[in-house]
Subunit: 360 residues, 2 copies
């Protein structure tokens, strides 16, 4: 298969981890006789530095010509302290989601057997957890109108949802549930928000088309608690943009490190793959960033093109690295100094020689 | 001291738990020679049943004539399944918050030594956690405009914040931090929301007035994770309405049961005290509801009037009940069948005879 992959490494630890994912994809291409080409684009704070724009037109063009986008991370601490800045790195990420119409963000949360003890939660809490979060990604308060009054004393954000935005991701989530444990939990705040009531109404309407799927409703405040006290109750979680942001980052505590959570962002025409972690500026360039979320995002990219064997090879490599504790410091590995690159190298080696790779 | 207390038991487990808090307040009044009078009002689903209105004018009047309000819980499952219902129990709670101008909601999150093992989190994670959440309660998306298009296919909610709304709670939170560990964490989503940027800007402006307090910023998604992986980093958390709702319910996992979390909602003229848990309809009238959140809310009421010794007596009673496992089933007590009423009776006995009460 020929795949043209746009690579947007972005800021902070983005470039380091993305480099490992690219390395892994190259190894897959070699071993399975695919032709993957990679075109890099600027995004985020780095793009602002070089072009004044967090999402240069050239980057959009690179992405639109590509079959898929591999995204790193964006953000920089200096902007976090400047709430007045009009141009912000995050506009690069939000912009690309909007430009490519990436409305459906899928975030798997899987408790790895070998990492159960790394979680802040008790092992018995998290054993066998396997959740798929469907987060709506191009609507809601993320893309509503924003206003700041002239005197700077009143700020407004609007959260709007339309029927079609809810329907398309709801159908995708129901279908995913059908292929899994057949349970879907809609998370909203329908006791307060009109937009949440629209979600609840539409999902209620759609549900009969999937009679084998059990639908449950949960308020976001309650879900934030239930995700910790009883995560095994969840199969597919369906939710709007902001609640999905919060719940998916919270869910990383189950897995043991946010450095492990991958995601796919799908639109009607385009697809992007990115770790759910951010730029984590203070860890940049130290070789301590966990590349696994990025590598697993590459595996989701392979899934997307039906390259199941290839995706599984990557996942086996990740599993093996975890089993052998070839992991970065966020997972408190027993061995010293296993760097971002070394983890990538190990998984690359595994892909090349799945039967031989061991501690080397 | 003479106190006129409005009691709004509400729905579900609200009446049962509130009855225990009233019992405790009566015992305090007796022992410390105060005169507490109690006037009951209807609110929530029960009020809809009886009057068609989740917040009858009579209830508002009772509250406005009172020195303080003791609130139970509102909500009913049948409404959760009816996203079209125009009249909803939650309007009772949101309405009373607005009517009384209860802008500052304070939710303490304390890891009780005797309950560490009940938490879903590892004991070492939560030992010594002592967080005070300042949640803004009468602004933001909870009280913004809501619209549903005529065809019912587009819904909008608006989130607005004004300078004065942010300033008043920010000052309260900074002052609270000064009397504690002198750390404050502002939780927002300033990388996306204009209203969050306003929060960040104003809190940044105010901070120099409290030079002894260390201010930190955190995005809500990150905070939802950090609250679990490193809760001890927090002292005072300051946040807007929706984020405070989510974070405070999530924080209950630290304490071991949401049945333990109390809150105070303060305005310029009025004050209300309520457990953070909801109506929990399916547990109603079974004697299994934990009354401690309500009883601790009563303790916060006593605090509010400077009745320190009285509040401490209540808290000692609660501590003792936890130490002796006189607890409802949510805390998996060793003894069978310790009912809501029995827990209340135990704490009442303790208040009357603090030196003698033991298992009885
Ligand atoms: C960086 C930020 C704008 C982004 C979001 O909130 O969507 C991130 O947290 C994520 O989850 O991808
Ligand atoms: C019942 C609901 C409207 C309420 C809220 O969201 O504020 C509750 O969750 C709370 O936290 O007091």
């Amino acid at each position: 298969m020929k795949l043209n992959i746009a690579v947007l490494p972005g800021d902070g630890i983005g470039p380091e981890v993305t480099a490992q994912a690219v390395k892994v994809l190259k190894a897959i291409a070699m071993d399975f006789n695919h032709i993957f080409t990679f075109n890099h684009g600027l995004v985020g704070a780095g793009a602002i530095d070089k072009t004044g724009n967090p999402l240069p037109q050239e980057t959009i063009d690179i992405c639109k010509k590509a079959d898929a986008v591999l995204f790193g991370a964006i953000g920089r601490t200096s902007f976090d302290l400047k709430p007045n800045a009009k141009i912000r790195p995050e506009q690069g990420l939000l912009g690309i989601r909007k430009e490519l119409g990436l409305h459906t963000n899928i975030r798997p949360v899987i408790a790895y057997e070998d990492l159960l003890s790394k979680s802040s939660l008790k092992v018995k809490q998290i054993k066998d957890v396997d959740i798929l979060i469907y987060r709506e990604l191009t609507g809601g308060i993320y893309f509503g109108d924003r206003t700041l009054s002239e005197d700077g004393n009143t700020a407004t954000d609007t959260c709007t949802y339309n029927r079609y935005e809810i329907e398309r991701i709801a159908h995708a989530a129901f279908k995913a549930a059908q292929a899994r444990k057949k349970k879907i939990t809609l998370v909203d705040k329908a006791n307060v928000l009109e937009s949440s009531r629209l979600w609840r109404r539409i999902v209620q309407e759609i549900a009969p088309q999937y009679p084998d799927v059990k639908l449950k409703y949960m308020y976001i405040d309650n879900a934030a608690m239930e995700l910790i006290i009883n995560p095994r109750q969840f199969d597919v979680i369906l939710t709007e943009n902001m609640f999905g942001d919060i719940l998916s980052e919270e869910a990383s505590v189950i897995v043991g490190s946010i450095g492990l959570l991958a995601s796919a962002s799908l639109g009607d025409k385009y697809a992007m793959f990115e770790p759910i972690h951010g730029a984590y500026t203070k860890a940049a360039n130290k070789g301590i960033a966990n590349p696994i979320a990025s590598i697993l995002s590459a595996a989701m990219l392979l899934d997307h093109f039906g390259l199941d064997e290839e995706a599984n090879r990557v996942r086996e490599g990740v599993d093996k690295s975890l089993k052998l504790h070839i992991t970065t410091p966020d997972l408190n590995n027993k061995y010293d100094n296993i760097s971002t690159t070394k983890v990538g190298d190990f998984i690359e080696d595994f892909i090349n020689n799945p039967d031989e790779t061991n501690l080397n």
